[in-house]
Subunit: 894 residues, 2 copies
């Protein structure tokens, strides 16, 4: 005969390692029981029992006997029997899953009360009102949760009784009145369900357990799990525990305590206490709690014991603990503990201080913080007041806080910025046309597009605040105003405050608090315990990480800032950003050139400008690699919009001949799908002299830096390669020019030449491509677009919300790398590339290079570096360090 | 000591199996020598010697001794010594590579003549003029080819002498005159090169051999090889052979003979003969040859011998042979043989007749023809005369011949067709808007786009004639005319003749010849030897092939035609084609619907129309599978063009409110890259009721066919799936509707549900997708686009010509499957899909399904079927059969 499965564990039998079986709460209760803390006794029904119930509709046959056995032990320990008429044992029945799902599932208290035992409770407690109030609570919770009666019906009864007494507080109802409430509650249950409230305490218990089981599959629980990525098949455990009461008078109470301040991380007991109350009263917020320190005056003994227990728990859990406790007539009971949630600031301080104290190792300390938290600490914050009502909500696309006057086009932003005004650029969506305005403005607000729309990507790249997709706003650029759903009209010149961290926009000026962390990261000088913690943990991350961190930066200023923030080079320097602004006319001339001479003249005019750009960037990154990507976007992006131009010509009495010429060029170059058109290396091969001009600018900049005693380390990156032949041709051209410049200048500019891997075909044929590439840089933005056949600009605005809602994606593949599809291509390419070329350097320069989860993947895939926008560098360093702690070191396979 | 490498083979030592080493010509000469045919003796210097020469700039050291030895044997056999003064042996030095490169490399005749031996030749031949003419020819060829003298200089001298005699024919120059020419030629050589023409016959020989080696790398040879995909590193062999002379008088001559007519395949000797001439005179076309049959009268003995030799050769080579021969004073010499080139018609007849005669096996007969030839036979042809001058040349995008009046828009085509007129639709490029016109027209002519432009793809799908990318035409749709480069203006209503096989357009009506093959393929009834051959070879292909062949067809008419042509079902039925024409208004209503009710009404109106479509198609394919793809293109494709609409509104005094409403919708739905936008399954999930309507139409059509006693086999295909979750959701919706219809109708419509694999991610995660798919259909058009990141409409018009020219592609990846990239995804997906779902059916429905080379790949990859446009089905059947002969049978791996 096989041993029957155990579905029930008494608290004294479990431990914190059994959270999968006992749930988080059950495991915590068991652990505290083992530590000798004063936990009301009880037992846990396992998640396995729940799963069986959910799968079959019935609890396992063994469960009844096992519960009866545990209940008997509980009754023996408490010296009382469940629901006994003269002095009843009451129990709580609470859910408790593996992962915390606060408020998502059911709890039923005071199981064991009935028409008889309510009198026994009154007698034993000496408090008649308390007993009837408890019975009333049981009927209300059980009636709603187990018997499915509309909760509003009970509220109505309570309301009517209070109204009759002209009272607003439940305390106005005395025992007699509550007795009448109880009778009416029972009548409601009978009327609504056709059955009586069960008087049998055991029936109450079993039905409550089943209700908790069933609540796992409630709609709200499912939605919550989907959002939090919790699997649907875990099930919940159920904890049955002897009730203790904090509402038996002034020597009773209930509270929440933390071992450190969860807001700041400061050491010392911290929390709230509510005298003469039950736990649910704390949650409902009917009465105001007092600071925990007050308990020292109210009950010094309980306070002292609590302090001892908190120290025990923190030492045992080696982390911030969050404890629920009750004082019943001077006796302290601990009802729950868990590792406490904390703010980003507290996370850093606690991890650092526990590490310094030797409670945890430096690796553990590093594992306790993350890059998202660090990024959050780097932004200035609005000091909002409760009275501040947002104008709009949108997607928090680029974090931070900014204040400025509203402008509706790029020109206005540039002009006002030139006049010293701070501006917020408001557009339906942005295009490369808007770039000057985006550079000039403090923040960007759009009504269309998601986190990877043009506005979002560019703003993040520049570290500008951005809220996008605020789709309730009606933006009328022509009228230079936008309207909010509430009917407010904001006109050009009005001031707004944009919170890119929260995705909200406020009217007027909300005061700002600067980030001390941000300053410290650039200077390396700590200014207090928080910044000390940040620097120390980053130090350790740098020590353990294998992945290098480089920056995506296109200007000397960005490069210098990135370097201060810890960048070990530039992984992506986009040359197209150097073709905008005043230089646009030259690009236009190149495009409109009717013959070789005109085109060469335009290119010749661009050459010195590009050389200056590169010289500055190489100087800022002296001694570190700078990967320069040759021109990537289709040329028509540098020309005006086709429809705008056609309408302008159609509307004009006498159309500008230049407009006509432009329209002809735009028509000729129009592409159905420009992302898949004439761009990248294709452009380089199709436009004579373009690659040569750019490579010459790089080589001459390198030569100049060498002459000036610098250590320039330029790398030339060919974008959008699909087949090795393209790279071979472009490389030959580049090498020809490098050799020319070497001869002309008498220097030997050593420029590795590599390629973006941003097309599925490049990844699939990486073994061939690696024959002529010195490095691979995974352009995971475009690789995601082509692997999925998704234009992010189009898709995020149209069906992404639907897909996220339906669970097609857990997260946008543009935010977090799709490891199954795109990631597989990355792995294939790294492996094939290295097999052919053991010195091949590999990195990633897409948006994913700054995404924590993706960084862990890149570490496992064995890449050499990630590259991200300057602002994300500290977070990337931190995550690269964390990845080295946990990930299989893909680098070992080299 | 190792055996020295052999660089020289006498003809009697070689065989036809040694073509790699001896070249095609050398191997043929050796083989004929072995067969005892009268071949002038000689020897071959190997390709290996050439490769050494090209690599090092010097011939191998052993070569001299080996040539000397072979030459000594040759002299012994001929009883004369090279260049001996009294009776010289003369030799020819000819190139001969592994693959035929006609006219690309050098030939030098009459080696061995010099100032002394010219007299000996005169004496020995008894013809002084012949001797001096031969010497003149040697100086001319050697001077130009070996010594690099401008050929024009020799022409000038000849011209001057003829002018002096007022003659136009070389024959006017007698021996004395030619002696003067010889002196002047020698002077030209001395003046141009600073050296004398070498009098030493051996020096002549060695320098000639080296010149032939060098000619392998001439510009024209390189260009030819690139075009013909011949590797650059093969090198050429050199054949040194005793000269025989066809120009020694009326009992001499030269000719070309075929064992069968290479134009029709008819049995019997066939060729041309030129009395008293050398081979080069035949090529130069100075004099007209007579039919070979004349030789029977001129020299019955030689004619009889030639007939014997031709029979020997055809029996030996088991194929049509093409022979060059010379009669020297009544003695027949065979100078070259090779397997002869032939027309498509001849290929089929010869293969079939050799097979029937038992000369070759049925498999060999099948291997001797191909699908491209078969397709060529299926089109009507223009009977053009030499005087017909084309108006324009373009890309031969969809073969065949059509005559019609020119129209410049879809409406005009529809109206004129309704009035019974045949039309040619002329557009800059076509869009889905033009579809009604394309259906109405006989042919489509565009000035933009390549073989996979919209016009080309749609026209091929419909079997319409199409010439596209005729970029020299200036099409002015507004003025309703186009202009040719020659300045001709063609106006709406003018008649033109379009040859889609050649890519040419003629003015007026060129008479047509119908294709007997095309008729026979539909009826199955042979009408003559050609059609008999075609049917017989197709029969054998059907017998041996493993791949099924299905059709891409969207109408009952196309389905019926496809079935007659041998389709085993429909692999792709595109439902979007059913949303055009009159139904457009309903689609527009669906798109513009402001609420669920309006959208449901629009869908409800579409339902019966779709049901009729499906019922008809299922009837036409009764008993065979019909794979119906749910709506794929983005909805805005059904709306007018954004720029057109914006200009119309801007230009109108009082804009149409409907236009404004449309523009708002178009603006809202505008996508930067529609190919990567809201389409396929995304659309199905985003537009409520769309999938349900289409599935219901399928299910109801199936139910109706079942009720009518049919055997409907509908399959539902979900397009553009990137992740299994999409398919899971769409499948659930489809299954729900199928169950509903089953209940309503009391039938059990059994519809497998599968997906297109047309995104890299779908291929990479095929193992997951196969869990919920009954079949995979590889949409290799879109898969190529996303794998390469290429929009074919954009790319073919912009940089494809450049890429083909630079050799980045050998062929457009849209024409012939890119096996290395896209093919790898197909292989990965088939393998992963079958591992999970052993009953998974796999096919391909992209354009590649009808491409011969790609069909061979799909056979090797183990797919179950290919699907192509109806017209390509016979070719696909043939190629599937040929693939089964040669390809590794991928199906074995199942």
């Amino acid at each position: 005969m096989s041993t029957p499965i155990r579905y029930v564990y008494e608290f004294a039998e479990g431990s914190r390692d059994m959270a999968t079986l006992l749930g988080g709460k059950g495991a915590g209760l068991a652990e505290m029981t083992r530590l000798g803390l004063p936990v009301p006794p009880g037992f846990t029904v396992t998640t396995e029992a729940c799963r069986t119930y959910l799968a079959t509709g019935q609890e396992p046959p063994e469960l009844g006997v096992q519960v009866a056995h545990a209940l008997a032990n509980l009754e023996r320990a408490m010296g009382r029997d469940l629901g006994r008429a003269d002095d009843p044992l009451l129990v709580s029945v609470r859910s408790g899953a593996r992962f915390s799902m606060p408020g998502m599932m059911e709890t039923i208290l005071d199981i064991g009360l009935n028409d008889d035992s309510v009198a026994g409770l009154a007698k034993a407690s000496g408090q008649e009102r308390f007993a009837w109030d408890s019975y009333r609570r049981l009927l209300q919770m059980f009636g709603h949760t187990v018997m499915d009666v509309d909760a509003g019906l009970f509220e109505q009864v309570m309301g009517a009784h209070k109204a009759a007494l002209s009272a607003t507080d439940d305390h106005a109802l005395d025992a007699e009145e509550l007795g009448r409430v109880v009778e009416e509650f029972k009548a409601v249950i009978r009327r609504e369900t056709g059955e009586d409230f069960p008087q049998d305490p055991l029936e109450q218990l079993y039905r409550a357990v089943r209700a908790v089981f069933g609540s796992w599959n409630s709609e709200r629980a499912r939605v919550y799990r989907r959002r939090e990525h919790i699997p649907d098949d875990l099930g919940t455990a159920v904890n049955i525990q002897a009730m203790v009461f904090g509402n038996l008078g002034p020597d009773s109470g209930t509270g929440v305590a933390f071992t450190r301040d969860p807001a700041t991380g400061e050491r010392g007991m911290y929390g709230d206490y509510l005298p003469d109350a039950q736990g649910e009263d704390v949650v409902s917020g009917v009465r105001n709690a007092v600071p925990l320190a007050e308990l020292e005056h109210l009950d010094p003994r309980a306070y002292g014991q609590l302090g001892d227990h908190l120290r025990t728990l923190e030492a045992h859990y080696r982390d911030l603990c969050d404890v629920e406790f009750t004082v019943e007539r001077g006796r302290l009971w601990i009802l729950q503990t868990r590792v406490g949630k904390r703010t980003a600031e507290a996370a850093f301080r606690i991890a650092h201080e526990l590490g310094t104290a030797g409670t945890i190792t430096p690796d553990e300390a590093l594992a306790r913080v993350d890059g998202t938290e660090l990024t959050r600490l780097m932004f200035p914050r609005f000091a909002t007041r409760a009275s501040d009502v947002p104008l709009a909500h949108g997607v928090p696309a680029s974090p931070g806080a900014a204040v400025g006057v509203v402008v509706f086009d790029s020109d206005a932003a540039v002009h006002r910025a030139a006049a010293g005004q701070q501006t917020v650029l408001v557009r339906r969506e942005t295009t490369p046309e808007d770039l000057p305005g985006m550079i000039a403005a403090e923040a960007v607000l759009t009504s269309r597009g998601g986190k990877t729309s043009h506005a979002a990507v560019v703003a993040r790249g520049m570290g500008k605040v951005c809220v996008c997709g605020a789709d309730a706003l009606v933006i009328d650029s022509a009228a230079r105003q936008f309207t909010t759903p509430a009917g407010a009209v904001v006109r050009e010149g009005d001031t707004v405050s944009v919170d890119g961290t929260a995705g909200t926009v406020y009217p007027g000026t909300v005061p700002l608090t600067a980030s001390e962390v941000s300053g410290t990261l650039e200077t390396g000088m700590a200014t207090g315990p928080l910044t000390q913690a940040v620097l120390s943990l980053l130090d350790h991350a740098d020590f353990v990480r294998r992945l290098e961190v480089r920056a995506n930066a296109d200007t000397p200023e960005d490069a210098a800032r990135a370097r201060r923030l810890g960048a070990q080079g530039i992984g992506l320097c986009r040359t197209e950003h150097m073709f905008l602004g005043d230089r646009r006319a030259l690009v236009e001339a190149m495009i409109l050139a009717r013959d070789d001479t005109a085109r060469e003249a335009a290119l010749a005019a661009l050459l010195p400008l590009q050389r200056e750009d590169f010289t500055g960037i190489l100087a800022a990154m002296d001694g570190l690699p700078v990967t320069i990507r040759l021109l990537d976007p289709p040329l028509h992006e540098f020309l005006p919009d086709r429809t705008d131009l056609a309408v302008r010509i159609a509307s004009a009495a006498r159309p500008d001949p230049h407009d006509r010429e432009l329209l002809t060029a735009v028509e000729r170059m129009h592409e159905q799908n420009p992302m898949l058109g004439l761009r990248g290396v294709r452009l380089g091969l199709a436009v004579p002299g373009l690659v040569a001009m750019q490579v010459r600018a790089v080589a001459e900049a390198v030569a100049r830096r060498l002459r000036d005693g610098g250590r320039p380390r330029a790398e030339i990156m060919i974008p959008l390669v699909g087949t090795v032949e393209e790279l071979r041709l472009a490389r030959a051209e580049a090498e020809r020019v490098l050799a020319e410049v070497a001869t002309e200048t008498g220097t030997t500019p050593d420029c590795p030449i590599g390629t973006m891997i941003e097309l599925p075909r490049a990844a699939l044929t990486a073994g061939r491509i690696a024959e002529v590439a010195d490095f691979f840089s995974f352009g995971t933005n475009d690789l995601t677009q082509t692997t999925w056949g998704l234009s992010r600009d189009d898709a995020e605005a149209s069906f992404f919300p639907l897909y996220l809602e339906k669970g097609v994606f857990a997260a946008s593949p543009f935010e977090t790398l799709d490891q199954e599809g795109v990631g597989r291509l990355v792995e294939l390419a790294v492996k094939a590339g290295r097999a052919v070329n053991s010195r091949l350097e590999t990195g990633v320069c897409g948006e994913h290079g700054g995404d924590p989860e993706s960084i862990h993947f890149f570490h496992r895939a064995g890449l050499d570096y990630v590259s991200c926008s300057p602002f994300r560098i500290p977070a990337a360093r931190l995550e690269a360090g964390r990845a080295a702690l946990t990930g299989a070191a893909g680098g070992d396979s080299r």
